[in-house]
């Protein structure tokens, strides 16, 4: 299976180019800082008293979401910047010439690389996320309500972004493709926050900013679904207010719908198909 050959080659590239090592160092730093922060949260007195268990669960929920956002950002940046060079870089350097002169389809090469990057990003999210849950549990006793769904959605978010990165890498230079993909990821997140504020304030037109951006690029919608899976629903119910209705960037007010999930998968397939089409027509 040539697809698997390219998937394995992509993983080997990530390992040998020390991307894995760089990600591991960043992750350990982030996990270490979060362990320190969560430990401080439990042991420090606020206004002369320790936090109640309800307060602790709410704050742990938010902080966990914040740290997971950091992890998802590392995964997104890592895979988006890997996705660019893997296609555009090889075409620019000439490495693609010898490969594509073999009896293989360009779409096979693209799918193989995509699969390798998905495994890379998904593996990173699973390992780093699990380590983070253990840290939070060990320090505060909090365990996310639905960790598997949450991590799966974050892995899917990484897959969405790297698919976009691959699409751009068939069109523009390697560096530009990574920058544009990450830029759009950030812009969609901000649009999601703006939309959340709109929902919190009951302003439908502002809320639509978030909804539209979440359809155009599903990363933020997936992130909000993942946050919902990480946070403690009972603790949130006790507090209510605009924050829980979406006005706070590190809390989510609703789980992901199946329709949105189906759209995300369709979106990913469409973008990957478009990338394959563009690559097929491209002169080397």
């Amino acid at each position: 299976m040539i697809v698997l050959t390219f998937a394995a080659l992509t993983l080997r590239e990530a390992a040998r180019r020390k991307v894995l090592r760089a990600l591991a160092v960043l992750t350990v730093v982030l996990l270490g800082l979060s362990a320190w922060g969560f430990h401080t949260l439990v042991t420090k007195e606020f206004d002369g008293a320790l936090l109640t268990s309800g307060e602790l669960r709410l704050i742990a929920s938010q902080l966990l979401n914040l740290v997971m956002f950091g992890l998802s950002l590392i995964a997104a940046l890592g895979t988006a910047f890997l996705a660019g060079p893997t296609v555009a870089g090889e075409m620019e350097s000439g490495a693609a010439l010898a490969i594509l002169a073999r009896p293989i389809r360009r779409s096979t090469v693209l799918t193989g690389k995509w699969l390798g990057l998905v495994v890379f990003g998904g593996g990173f999210i699973a390992l780093a996320g699990l380590a983070q849950f253990v840290i939070v549990y060990a320090t505060t006793g909090y365990w996310p309500s639905d960790p598997v769904t949450g991590l799966a959605l974050l892995a899917l978010q990484t897959a969405v972004l790297l698919t976009l990165g691959l699409l751009f890498s068939t069109l523009i230079s390697p560096m530009a493709s990574g920058v544009v993909a990450v830029g759009l990821f950030g812009a969609t997140w901000i649009a999601g926050v703006v939309g959340g504020v709109g929902r919190g304030l009951g302003n439908d037109s502002v809320a639509a900013v978030g909804s539209v951006s979440q359809v155009l690029l599903p990363t933020d919608g997936l992130w909000r679904g993942a946050m919902y899976a990480f946070q403690d629903p009972t603790a949130l119910l006790g507090f209510g207010g605009p924050a829980v209705k979406g006005g706070f960037p590190f809390l989510s007010d609703a789980p992901l719908t199946w329709a949105y999930l189906a759209w995300t998968i369709t979106w990913t397939a469409l973008v990957l198909g478009l990338a394959a089409l563009l690559l097929r027509r491209r002169d080397l």
Binding site: I2, T5, A98, A101, P103, D283
Partner: protein
């Protein structure tokens, strides 16, 4: 004889510039064809269209009996691109292993190692390509082109980064491919290289075929250059009878003269009183012929 590659009416435009304009030629199985032409003549574009790497605007390519749009056409093709670069994080041995897998070939480890040995990289098989010099990468590229037992090898400037020893090695490799009946398309600026190994030559200029044919057809017959003194009218007449004569000072050149007529001619000239300083049989060099073709095109 069937063709390794057959192209007809290839045309390619990049925005307003026409890179290739109606190029048709073929390489027969077992034949070594040289592709010559100045920079920007469209040689690399033709090669890339021939391998399905660039889509022609018009024209047709049949590669080893299949249309080039079918990836299987490339199964028995070895290609060394002009812009060669191989995955720097892989070792030389791994690069060959990857290409053998992609070609769908069944080449045992021993044979792969021998291919690396053939290009002088046997000692560096386990080293990462990232640490290779440009010349070594080009040698690796040759090994990549040869490893999957190709029936048609395309070498685009295979000696651009090589030292004289490396160039001689490439020449030997080309001759051994020719002996084994492997078709070769060689694009090289080193005309001497082309002249020594190619059966036929296609000259491209500004995207068109300016000339094509066997070396004998392109270069014509042999010629004789003589440096003479005291040439009498009779001696000059004798020279004219031998073949078309041209003169530059004391250098006389007789064109289209068969080699076995030379001793008689020299003996006659001496008898007719001419003093013979040098006799140099030869023929028009490919370089001169190429400059001539390109000059008349402009």
């Amino acid at each position: 004889m069937t063709n390794a590659v057959w192209t007809s009416g290839l045309r390619k435009r990049y925005r307003k510039r026409t890179a290739v304009d109606g190029v048709s030629f073929s390489v027969a199985r077992g034949e070594v064809l040289g592709l010559l032409g100045p920079n920007g003549a469209g040689k690399t574009t033709v090669i890339k269209m021939m391998l399905g790497l660039v889509r022609p605007d018009a024209g047709e390519v049949m590669l080893l009996g299949r249309p080039v749009t079918d990836p299987r056409a490339r199964a028995k093709v070895g290609y060394l691109p002009e812009l060669f670069r191989y995955q720097p994080w892989l070792t030389a041995k791994e690069v060959l292993g990857l290409h053998v897998r992609l070609a769908g070939a069944d080449v045992p480890e021993r044979e792969r190692h021998d291919t690396l040995g053939l290009v002088g990289l046997a000692e560096r098989a386990g080293d990462r390509v990232g640490g290779f010099s440009k010349g070594m990468q080009q040698r690796l590229g040759l090994a990549v082109a040869l490893v999957a037992r190709p029936e048609f090898v395309v070498l685009d400037e295979p000696t651009s980064a090589l030292d004289p020893v490396g160039r001689a090695d490439v020449r030997d490799i080309l001759l051994s491919l020719k002996d084994r009946g492997v078709a070769v398309l060689l694009n090289s600026h080193l005309i001497g290289e082309v002249e020594r190994v190619c059966d036929r030559v296609v000259v491209l200029d500004r995207g068109r075929v300016a000339a094509s044919g066997t070396l004998a057809e392109l270069l014509g017959g042999r010629e004789l250059r003589l440096r003479l003194e005291k040439v009498t009218a009779e001696a000059e007449e004798r020279l004219r009878r031998a073949g078309p004569l041209s003169r530059d000072g004391d250098l006389y050149t007789v064109a289209d003269l068969e080699g076995d007529l030379i001793p008689d001619l020299v003996a006659d000239l001496v008898e007719l009183g001419a003093r013979v300083h040098s006799v140099e049989p030869g023929r028009v060099s490919l370089e001169d012929r190429l400059l001539d073709i390109l000059g008349s095109e402009r």
